[in-house]
């Protein structure tokens, strides 16, 4: 499988990343190289293999903990790094017409 302009546009949209028109071919050829490399996995028979989803399962399991609230009411700290804020809210461009 390979990447064409249409696929690139689609993943750019999903990623919210904009690639300038003049750079697209370069990005495509670099991605294509890597994806071609990934395709070598097709040589491996995995028909009877379960995906490894949780690495901790290789040596036991991840420990459980009680589900309890441990903090909160930190409005000032939460807003401190916000690029734009007002009256305890994050400010963003208008989203409702």
């Amino acid at each position: 499988m390979g990447v064409d302009t249409k696929t690139l546009d689609r993943i750019c949209e999903l990623s919210r990343i904009e690639i300038k028109e003049e750079n697209k071919q370069d990005v495509i050829s670099k991605l294509d190289n890597v994806i071609h490399w990934m395709d070598s996995l097709n040589e491996v028979d995995t028909s009877k293999v379960e995906p490894l989803v949780n690495v901790s399962s290789l040596f036991g399991s991840a420990p459980w903990r009680e589900d309890k609230a441990t903090g909160g009411n930190k409005v000032e700290q939460v807003l401190k790094n916000a690029p734009s804020q007002m009256e305890e809210h994050f400010l963003v461009p208008k989203v409702v017409e």
Binding site: R16, E18, L31, M38, T46, V53, L58
Partner: protein, 492 residues
């Protein structure tokens, strides 16, 4: 440079206890070295005031007989660990002015054991890279120059850490390792770099790259220092659901232990076509050292080794594309200048201007392998092969106690002569990635200089939670090779 900076952690520990010098004097000596070598660009943020204050507190605790494991040790912190009140950038424009309101568990553990923070050091942007050339804050130079007198790269992603420690600007540094980001820079700069078992060190407060792989570890000048520092960093943390609820042993006890009778696996698949002859010979030499120390060498096969690279470059970018979706210019970090057509336009401009090329490429790769139509063919397939890689190791560890391989297929690149094609660069991680896929502990031990005068290192891999075996073997190698850390690119 004063001699204080040449001391190892155990030497410092003894001297501080005896009152031969104070923690403040030591901190000042390191601050001086850090300021003198600013041209190497290891530090993004220097925190000399904090260091001196922490050192004063250390002196008080030493006097009171309450010294911690890392008491008075001036260290550098990779700029991926959140430090409360101290700018934390991940070497990215998108976090250029981010000041965390909380402390990562690893740094918190280190400080509660008395460590002194000299500053925050650069890495590849979001820890994605093998050279530290992708840092938004400029090129970091290794203190090692090649034979023509040109600076080399310090490896990556923990390249600020490796420069700071090999350049005697810090006694140790934290690193993080996703596919080799501790071991490869340690190998490039002549350091000991240990990645413990996945889950040993909490990931809480460490800026996430690929959560199923990211693991913190120490970068130091000696094996014993590595053991001391790892013990301080490690430990169960409820705040990280993948943190292992296991006791942390005294890793230092493993140093100097006999390795007689240990079985060392030599995987044939690592002897790749075209493997650099010098590295191949060095591998044989170090294996012989272990044999001379009474270990038994066992030829093993890790048949899936060649697939570890493609698996990694599916899984890590996939996880990264999800982890990095939080950088949207709303809650923290950089926001592009408006006006914006709408909210989406703000996301788009912020992320396109805030992330560098390599990070954008990884996000795109990750999005591709996770997108509908490709998810099973790439992501699920990679997870399946990942299990096969882990099973290969499991079978090997039924026959051996540890595995010995080179850490990197080459020594450090001269700056400007590194591979330019991403795929070629990715291939430089092939020796470190497999252990990461299986969550195994692995470390680099510096062993020699190559014909270009640059450090070479070997990798030891041991069983899950059996870091002590790799530390014992590493200390045997260290003693036999007597590697001299004497980089030629430092200002006197």
């Amino acid at each position: 440079m004063t001699n204080l900076n040449k001391l190892s952690m155990d030497q410092v520990r003894n001297s501080l206890k005896k009152g031969e010098f104070s923690a403040v004097e030591l901190a000042k000596s390191y601050i001086q070295a850090m300021e003198k070598n600013r041209d190497l660009n290891a530090f993004i943020t220097e925190t000399s005031e904090i260091a001196l204050k922490q050192a004063e507190e250390s002196d008080k605790r030493i006097k009171a007989g309450n010294a911690g494991l890392m008491e008075g040790m001036p260290i550098a912190i990779k700029d991926l660990f959140c430090t409360k009140g101290v700018r934390t950038t991940a070497s990215s424009k998108i976090l250029e002015n981010f000041i965390p309101e909380y402390e990562s568990t690893v740094t918190s553990n280190l400080f509660s054991q008395g460590a002194v923070m000299l500053g925050k050091v650069a890495c590849d942007e979001f820890a994605m890279g093998s050279t530290t050339l992708t840092s938004f804050f400029g090129t970091v130079k290794s203190p090692w120059k090649d034979q023509k007198g040109e600076y080399t790269v310090p490896g990556g992603s923990s390249g600020g850490s490796s420069t700071a420690v090999s350049g005697f600007m810090a006694i140790g540094a934290t690193g993080t390792d996703t596919g080799g980001s501790i071991r490869q820079p340690a190998s490039f700069t002549g350091l000991v770099g240990a990645k413990p078992t996945y889950g040993r060190c909490s990931r809480w407060g460490t800026i996430a790259f690929a959560s199923s792989l990211d693991q913190a570890g120490p970068m130091t000048r000696t094996v014993r220092d590595s053991a001391i520092m790892l013990e301080a960093m490690a430990g169960y943390d409820q705040k990280d659901s993948t943190s292992a609820n296991r006791d942390v042993p005294c890793f230092e006890n493993a140093i100097g232990k006999s390795v007689k009778g240990m079985r060392i696996g030599i995987p044939k698949e690592y002897r790749v076509d075209g493997l650099n002859e010098e590295i191949s010979k060095e591998w044989d030499r170090i294996a012989q050292i272990l044999k001379d120390a009474g270990a038994e060498l066992v030829d093993i096969s890790l048949a899936t080794t060649k697939y570890a690279g493609p698996v990694y470059y599916i899984i890590a970018p996939a996880e990264a594309s999800a982890n990095l979706s939080r950088y949207d210019g709303v809650r923290f970090g950089f926001r592009a200048d408006g006006p914006f057509d709408n909210l989406d336009d703000m996301y788009l401009k912020t992320r396109s201007q805030g992330f560098g090329d390599e990070v954008q490429r990884r996000i795109l790769m990750g999005t591709y392998v996770l997108s509908s139509g490709f998810y099973d063919a790439y992501f699920t397939k990679a997870q399946k092969v990942r299990r096969l890689i882990a099973e290969d190791f499991k079978q090997a560890f039924e026959k051996v106690d540890a595995i010995l391989t080179p850490s990197s297929p080459s020594s450090a690149y001269t700056i400007g002569k590194e591979p330019k094609d991403p795929l070629e660069m990715y291939l430089s991680d092939i020796f470190t990635i497999p252990a990461s896929m299986a969550g195994l502990p692995a470390m680099n031990v510096p062993t020699n200089l190559d014909s270009n005068g640059l450090p070479l290192g070997m990798q030891l891999i041991s069983k899950h939670f059996d870091e002590n075996t790799m530390f014992s073997l590493a200390s045997v190698i260290e003693e036999a090779v007597d590697f001299q850390l004497n980089p030629n690119g430092l200002k006197e």
